[in-house]
Symmetry: C2
Subunit: 152 residues, 2 copies
DNA sequence: GTCATTGCAAAGGATTTGCAGTTCC
DNA sequence: GGAACTGCAAATCCTTTGCAATGAC
């Protein structure tokens, strides 16, 4: 989907956020990216338009967008936060070799039966499936020796 | 299951790891814990037995155990790594309020149908389901105002 | 005009690295 | 005996915080 400036502006207004050029650019970059960029990825992407911008602004902006519910923070590894502007319920596939994250949109996964063996007073509000494996490139290159970290 | 010193020693030997008192204590503490402790949690737990031990040793040991496949790193939030010595395929339930992690052992979740819409050459080796919600205590205390971070 | 936002610098917390001394095999 | 392990300190990396200046509403 192509998102225009006025779409973004409207979204910001709905959330009571001011529409600044930096904020617009960061959110736009996130909307357009299919990878799941880190704060620094976004900084690099947006920096050419705003040479004066600081990484801090990216962090601040991502925090605001997250609090407003406009984006999700995708915590796969613990080392760096990654962000996602795709709010459609979806799941992820992670390559153990190169750490690439791919969206999995299979709607069957959205309807998991409620698990048993959990505390009775726990109210489940959602779930997410994380698949792990090796992408074609990493299978070819590494054959085997895979970084064993990050399970989950 | 009760795990004895000789069990641990054998496991270490199978992995080619030296059996040091610190390492044994850390692994033992992890085996006994049902929470999913952070490196520092383990450090605090083991420190009374080894007043001279440094947090660094805990990190080093956890790295070795993880590389050897004896433990898993559970990455829920990105802020702190959590570890799990329960290698039985299982899933997790996380309280959005207090961040408590509960193991979900429902075996039906282990047999998810392979998703569609993923790259053809991607080889999936495993998956994990993360449920999110509110534990009873947090539901009672907060009513609503829940920390919105950490989705996925 | 006011208050959120920005930029810069500095702090903070978690984890890793370097290195010398120790200990298990 | 030698490689792996431990402890300590310093470094690194990611993220947050403080504060003055700016700009959107």
């Amino acid at each position: 989907m192509e998102i225009s400036f006025s779409d973004i502006k409207r979204k910001f207004q709905e959330c009571g956020l001011k529409t600044t050029p930096q904020r617009t650019a960061i959110y736009d970059a996130l909307l357009r990216s299919t990878a799941h960029p880190t704060a620094e990825d976004l900084f690099v992407k947006v920096a050419p338009q705003f040479p004066m911008m600081s990484l801090n602004t990216v962090y601040y902006t991502l925090g605001v967008l997250r609090t407003s519910g406009l984006i999700h923070e995708v915590n796969i590894g613990h080392t760096r936060a990654r962000f996602d502007a795709n709010l459609t319920p979806h799941h992820h596939l992670i390559c153990l070799g190169c750490q690439t994250i791919v969206d999995v949109m299979d709607p069957r996964l959205n309807r998991l039966t409620s698990p048993f063996g959990i505390p009775k007073d726990f109210e489940i509000t959602g779930h997410q499936v994380v698949f792990r494996g090796l992408c074609g490139s990493c299978r070819r290159h590494t054959g085997r020796s895979i970084n064993h970290s990050s399970s989950g």
